[in-house]
C-alpha cells in the first residue's frame, strides 16, 4: 500500500467511524448497552460474589475489577460484528461499495468507532470501580499501559467479529454466536475467580487463554496483585503483557486480511 492509499483509508475510515458514533448516540439500546451494563456488572459482581470468594492478600474487588474490564471490553468488541451484519442487511454496505472509497475504510471505521465506544465503557467502569473501593496502586504510566492493553486486545477481537459479521446472514446470529463463544472464553479464565481451584485440564486451558493473560497483565499494571498470591507458573501468566501482545499481533495478522477479503465479497442478502 502506498502512503496515498493508507491516507485515504484512514480519512474514509474516520468518516465511517463518525457515522457509527452518531448512531450510538441515537440508538438508545446501544447507549444503554455501553453505559448501563458495565455499571451493573461491577455492582453485581462486587456485592454478590464479593463476600463469597476469597483471594489471599487482596480484596476480592481489587482482584475482580480488572477481570470485569477485560470481559466487558471484549463484549464491546462484538458490536463490530452486529453492526456490520446490520449494515449488510440494510443495503448500506452496497451503497458504500458503489462509492470510490477505500476498500478497507468501512472496516477501519467500524473497528475504530468500537474502540472509542470501549474508551467510554472503560471510563464509566473505572469510575464505578473507584466508587466501590477499587484502587490503582501503580504509577500513572503503568495504569495507562493497563488501559491501553485492554483496548488493544478488544481491538483485535473486533477484527474477529468483523469477519464473523461479514459471513453470517443476520445481526441476531452474530449476537448469538458471540455469546456462545465469548461467555466460555471469558469464564474459563482468571477473570472472576483464581484458576488454581479449576480441575486440572481446565486449569491449563484457562491459564493459556489470552483472556487470562490480558486480565493478569491489567492486574499487574494497576497494582492489583499481592505477594501472597503469585500468578500461576505458566509462561503465559509469568509474561502476561508479552503473551497478550503476541495474541494481538496474531489475531490482527489473520483477521484483517480475512475480513478485508470477505468485505469485498459480501453481497447484500
Amino acid at each position: 500500500m502506498s502512503a496515498m492509499t493508507i491516507q485515504k483509508a484512514l480519512g474514509d475510515g474516520a468518516i465511517v467511524a463518525k457515522r457509527n458514533l452518531i448512531k450510538i448516540k441515537r440508538v438508545p439500546d446501544l447507549l444503554v448497552f455501553s453505559t448501563m451494563s458495565p455499571i451493573m456488572f461491577i455492582l453485581l459482581f462486587a456485592y454478590v460474589f464479593g463476600s463469597a470468594i476469597h483471594v489471599p492478600g487482596l480484596s476480592y474487588r481489587e482482584f475482580l475489577i480488572p477481570g470485569i474490564f477485560a470481559q466487558t471490553v471484549i463484549f464491546g468488541a462484538t458490536i463490530t460484528g452486529a453492526g456490520l451484519a446490520d449494515d449488510i442487511q440494510k443495503g448500506i454496505i452496497d451503497r458504500f461499495r458503489s462509492l470510490p472509497m477505500s476498500r478497507s475504510a468501512v472496516l477501519v471505521g467500524r473497528t475504530t468507532s468500537d474502540v472509542l465506544n470501549n474508551v467510554l465503557v472503560i471510563t464509566i467502569m473505572s469510575l464505578t470501580g473507584l466508587a466501590v473501593g477499587w484502587r490503582i496502586r501503580s504509577s500513572v504510566f503503568e495504569a495507562a499501559g493497563g488501559f491501553l492493553l485492554l483496548l488493544l486486545f478488544a481491538y483485535a477481537i473486533s477484527w474477529i467479529m468483523a469477519w464473523v459479521g461479514l459471513i453470517v446472514p443476520t445481526p441476531e446470529v452474530v449476537n448469538n454466536a458471540s455469546f456462545m463463544i465469548i461467555f466460555p472464553l471469558t469464564f474459563v479464565a482468571n477473570t472472576f475467580v483464581p484458576t488454581n481451584g479449576f480441575p486440572h485440564g481446565l486449569r491449563a486451558i484457562a491459564n493459556w487463554n489470552p483472556v487470562s493473560s490480558v486480565t493478569q497483565a491489567a492486574r499487574e499494571l494497576f497494582g492489583n496483585t499481592s505477594d501472597k498470591f503469585p500468578a500461576p507458573k505458566d509462561w503465559s501468566l509469568q509474561h502476561p503483557v508479552l503473551y497478550t501482545l503476541a495474541w494481538v499481533v496474531l489475531l490482527l495478522a489473520v483477521f484483517i486480511p480475512l475480513s478485508v477479503r470477505q468485505y469485498k465479497r459480501a453481497a447484500s442478502r
Binding site: 474514509d12 468518516i15 463518525k18 457515522r19 452518531i22 448512531k23 441515537r26 440508538v27 440494510k90 443495503g91 448500506i92 452496497d94 451503497r95 458504500f96 461499495r97 458503489s98 462509492l99 470510490p100 472509497m101 475504510a105 453481497a267 447484500s268
Partner: protein
C-alpha cells in the same frame, strides 16, 4: 454515438438457477435504457454487476470506458447508484447521509455540505433535512437515496426500480426528477416492472426474462408488437364465456385471452372507447351479463403474452425453472376506465 454502458454475454448463476443467461446490452451516451422485466428476471443482478457490486461468472461489461471487473475503482468514480431498496442510514439525518456520501466521494468538507443542502432542497426534503431518516416516509427515503446517487454529479446513473413502492403521486414526482436529470445529459440505466414507466422515461427498452433479453426497441416499436389498448371484461357465468369470446374476437386485432377461473376475457383492440361501446352493445344483444369492463393500456403481462406466447407467471411453471424464485406475478398498474 459512444456506448457509455456496454455488456456482452453476462452470465450469473446461483446453483442451478441462471439469474443472468447471456445478457447483452448497450446504452449510448446521454440516453436512457429501460430494462423491463418481471420479478426474478435478473434486473437487479444485472445492475449489481454493472455497478461492480457482483462479479459476473462469464461475459464482460464496460462502464464509461472502464472494465467493471478489472477497473472497478475507476468505474465507481463515474457512477451513481440507487438500488432497489433505499440504502440510507436510518439513524442519521437526511443531511448527514448526503454529507457522508459527499465526503466519501472525496468532495471535501465544504463542498459536501453545500451539495447536501442543495440536493435536499431540490428533492423537497429541506424541511426534514435535520430529522433522522427513521422518521421519513417510504417516498422520502427513496428520494434521499436517489439524491445520494447524485451527490458527485455522476455521468452515468443506475436506478433499480426507482418507483416501486411509491404511491401514484410519489411516482409522478420521481418521474419528473428523472426527466430533469436526463435533460442535463446523464446516461441512465433504469429497471422497472412497469411498461408505462419505461415508456415515459426510456429512449430504448430492453425486455428481459430468465436473465435473457427477449425484445428490444423504442416504446413505440414494442407497442407496435404488443398492440394498443386492451378491452377486458368479466362475465357473470361460465356459460357466457364462449359467446363473449366470440364477440370480442370479432373486434380484436390480436389473440383473445380467456381466463376461465376468473371469467375474465382480454382482447387487444384498436380504436379505444368506440370499440368498447361496440363490444358492450354486441354483448348485450347476445344476452351476456357483464360484471366488469375496462379499457386499459398494455401491461408487462401483455408484453410477455405477446412476446413469449404465455404470461410471465405461466412460463415459469411450464419450464419448471425458477426454483427458489420470488413469486413472479408481474404486478401491473391498471389505468382502467371503469
Amino acid at each position: 454515438m459512444v456506448d457509455v454502458i456496454r455488456a456482452t454475454g453476462l452470465v450469473k448463476t446461483y446453483g442451478e438457477l441462471r439469474a443472468l443467461d447471456g445478457l447483452d446490452l448497450a446504452v449510448p451516451e446521454g440516453t436512457v435504457l429501460g430494462v423491463l422485466g418481471p420479478n426474478g428476471a435478473g434486473k437487479t443482478t444485472a445492475v449489481r454487476i454493472l455497478t461492480t457490486l457482483l462479479p459476473a461468472d462469464a461475459g464482460s461489461a464496460e462502464v464509461a470506458g472502464f472494465d467493471v471487473a478489472r477497473q472497478p475503482g475507476k468505474v465507481r468514480e463515474q457512477i451513481g447508484l440507487s438500488g432497489q431498496y433505499a440504502a440510507v442510514d436510518e439513524y442519521l439525518t437526511g443531511y448527514e447521509n448526503l454529507d457522508m456520501v459527499g465526503r466519501l466521494y472525496g468532495l471535501g468538507a465544504r463542498r459536501s455540505r453545500e451539495r447536501a443542502r442543495e440536493l435536499l432542497e431540490r428533492f423537497t426534503l429541506a424541511e426534514s433535512a435535520d430529522r433522522p431518516v427513521k422518521t421519513y416516509s417510504g417516498g422520502m427515503r427513496r428520494r434521499l437515496d436517489l439524491a445520494g446517487a447524485l451527490v458527485a454529479q455522476p455521468a452515468v446513473l443506475f436506478l433499480d426500480e426507482p418507483t416501486t413502492g411509491l404511491d401514484p403521486r410519489g411516482r409522478t414526482d420521481m418521474w419528473e426528477v428523472i426527466v430533469e436529470l436526463v435533460k442535463s445529459g446523464t446516461t441512465l440505466l433504469l429497471t422497472t416492472q412497469y411498461l408505462e414507466e419505461a415508456d415515459r422515461l426510456a429512449d430504448d427498452i430492453l425486455v428481459i426474462d430468465h436473465g435473457r433479453a427477449i425484445a428490444q426497441g423504442t416504446a413505440d416499436e414494442l407497442k407496435a408488437q404488443v398492440g394498443g389498448e386492451r378491452v377486458e371484461i368479466v362475465v357473470g357465468t361460465p356459460a357466457d364465456l364462449a359467446s363473449a369470446q366470440a364477440v370480442l374476437a370479432g373486434l380484436a386485432d390480436g389473440p383473445v385471452v380467456v381466463d376461465e377461473h376468473t371469467r375474465r376475457i382480454t382482447a387487444p383492440v384498436k380504436g379505444g372507447a368506440g370499440v368498447l361501446m361496440e363490444a358492450l352493445r354486441r354483448l348485450d344483444t347476445e344476452g351476456v351479463a357483464v360484471l366488469d369492463v375496462a379499457l386499459r393500456r398494455p401491461t408487462l403481462d401483455d408484453v410477455f403474452l405477446t412476446l413469449t406466447g404465455h404470461a410471465a407467471e405461466a412460463e415459469e411453471q411450464n419450464k419448471g425453472k425458477g426454483k427458489g424464485r420470488k413469486p413472479t406475478t408481474a404486478q401491473l398498474e391498471e389505468t382502467s376506465t371503469r
